[in-house]
């Protein structure tokens, strides 16, 4: 059978809730997001979203249904400008005209603090790249958003900025947001609730304060009893 990367992970997310997804390396967090967003297909089992079976639905269909995610390694579309990168989801996931997509993308950019929109994407600062990636996902007008290690590589101020941004969009758009992060400080500040994955299984859930004291979780991170 080989290695089971994700095994019967099941949980609920509420609108406006920011859920932390944590676990040691190799626990299956990114694989989980890839499965939910349709980038990879499960070898077994079912994926349900709002009561609908989307197990074999292709990624672009899931995007249209309201699932969006960001990528850890961000490769912007280099032959499109900054704002055009953001327009894509609006055009194809939501079916907007080019004009409407442009307007919406501009609104998103001003909300997130992005300027000089016709720029080439090779000249963005790292914070701008992260914001662009989030904007790209938001252009889908999703109901669920997964952020895959979006804070990686940011300094303390930039992290604060982005945390505030994420909180704002979750609240204003009534989004359910799943956040994969390794920095516990971010998790503590940003999330309402946390789920913990280890070796593909969900081993704990609850508010960060509780979960961080959970024996099983600590063992998972530190490697268990010798």
């Amino acid at each position: 059978m080989g290695l089971v990367a994700v095994n019967k992970v099941s949980f609920a997310m509420d609108e406006s809730e920011i859920l932390g997804i944590i676990g040691p390396n190799g626990a299956g967090k990114t694989t989980f997001i890839n499965l939910v967003s349709g980038i990879i297909m499960p070898s077994d089992g079912k994926i349900e979203y709002k009561g609908e079976d989307i197990t074999y639905a292709p990624a672009h269909e899931r995007a249209r249904k309201g699932i969006a995610r960001t990528y850890q390694l961000i490769h912007p579309l280099e032959n499109l400008s900054l704002i055009e990168n953001i327009m894509v989801g609006s055009i194809f996931a939501r079916g907007n005209s080019l004009k409407a997509a442009r307007r919406k993308a501009e609104a998103l950019c001003s909300e997130l603090g992005l300027r000089d929109l016709d720029r080439d994407t090779s000249r963005l600062t790292i914070l701008e790249v992260k914001k662009m990636e989030i904007a790209r996902a938001l252009a889908n007008e999703p109901e669920v958003l997964f952020l895959d290690e979006v804070m990686a590589g940011l300094n303390a101020d930039e992290t604060k900025d982005l945390i505030a941004t994420v909180q704002k969009i979750a609240k204003e758009r009534k989004l359910a947001v799943g956040v994969v992060e390794h920095v516990m400080g971010v998790i503590r500040e940003l999330t309402h609730r946390v789920i913990v994955l280890e070796a593909g299984e969900l081993i704990a859930q609850g508010p960060y304060e509780e979960v961080s004291k959970n024996k099983r979780v600590i063992e998972a991170y530190l490697g268990g009893a010798a």
């Binding site: 967003s37 349709g38 980038i39 292709p58 990624a59 672009h60 269909e61 995007a63 249209r64 969006a68 995610r69 990528y71 490769h75 912007p76 579309l77 280099e78 032959n79 499109l80 055009e84 327009m87 894509v88 989801g89 055009i91 194809f92 996931a93 939501r94 080019l98 790209r136 996902a137 252009a139 889908n140």
Partner: protein, 315 residues
């Protein structure tokens, strides 16, 4: 280059192209006809290239259109003018059926299959000997369209080019540009933004193949004859590729620019080294892809950016 200047140049060029037959002789008109057909193939090849897929099968689709036209006229009694759009439809249909299969895996698989297309069609035509006239080819009994009048044949070819340019321009201004560029730059990101990659590629492949087939129909109606060797010739794949690469891929203007340059060079080469001209295109393709992959247009843009960048840094 600012918008109104570009527009003025385009209109001027179009006007010039339109009235050319009024003062040019038969030979220049024939050269122009051929150049325009190659240009149209170059533009449509580029249109598919914008999605990141390379077709090595231009000659294949062109040849399919040629045979569709000639067989429709010779075996089916179709009127001349109808046989040309028919070629487009037929090639589009063939591309649709092939694309349904090979666009699922794309990239290298797609490219190699297109490489085989010309050969496969050639074999089919060879085998269906009685219907298609086999390796000796088939002649349109009533002769060439318009009775061979160069000005009319020229305008016919110009019409074909206009269709190709129109389609390319449309691709650049519509959501096609977003879809194809996204697919080319980052398929995963494209998928996550709701793009149905397979569908967009299929549509693009069908449209470009249909136009290529239509040009094949125009070619055959201009010469009144089709044979496997003449219509599935490597010329029809190589020269358009070289034109688009030289001028600058991923644009409408690039293939036109490359087309003008190479088109004139090609005629000259054919006279000087009648059997060697294809070597030149092959070498040209190699040199361009290694040293200036974005063609002349790309180099011009880079130079423009450097100049602009210098100014901006000072501002």
């Amino acid at each position: 280059m600012n918008r109104s200047l570009a527009r003025a140049i385009a209109i001027g060029a179009a006007a010039l192209a339109l009235i050319l037959p009024l003062f040019a002789g038969d030979y220049p008109l024939q050269v122009a006809r051929n150049v325009m057909m190659y240009m149209a193939l170059a533009v449509t090849w580029d249109m598919l290239l914008r999605s990141g897929q390379i077709s090595f099968g231009i000659a294949g689709l062109f040849g399919v259109g040629s045979y569709a036209t000639i067989l429709a006229v010779v075996r089916g009694g179709m009127p001349d003018w109808l046989s040309i759009p028919f070629a487009g439809l037929f090639s589009g249909l063939v591309a649709f059926l092939i694309g349904l299969v090979i666009l699922r895996l794309r990239h290298t698989y797609f490219s190699i299959v297109t490489m085989a297309l010309g050969e496969i069609f050639r074999i089919i035509i060879h085998n269906l000997h009685d219907f298609t006239g086999g390796p000796e080819g088939i002649v349109i009994q009533q002769g060439v369209m318009f009775g061979g009048k160069s000005s009319h044949l020229y305008w016919l070819a110009l019409g074909g080019l206009a269709v190709a340019l129109g389609a390319s321009y449309w691709f650049d201004k519509s959501r096609f540009r977003f879809a194809l560029t996204a697919i080319r730059n980052n398929e995963t990101s494209a998928k996550s933004s709701g793009i149905d990659i397979f569908r967009w590629l299929l549509v693009t492949f069908v449209i470009t193949s249909a136009i290529q087939g239509m040009i094949g129909g125009i070619f055959v109606q201009s010469y009144g004859f089709a044979s496997p060797d003449s219509v599935f010739s490597a010329d029809f794949t190589l020269l358009p590729m070289a034109m688009a690469l030289l001028g600058g891929i991923h644009s409408t203007v690039g293939p036109i620019l490359g087309g003008l340059l190479l088109g004139l060079v090609a005629e000259w080469l054919k006279l000087k080294i009648p059997y060697g001209h294809l070597v030149v295109y092959g070498v040209m393709i190699i040199v361009v892809i290694l040293f200036m992959p974005n063609g002349l247009l790309g180099m011009a843009r880079k130079a423009g950016k450097k100049a602009a960048g210098g100014q901006r840094d000072q501002a």
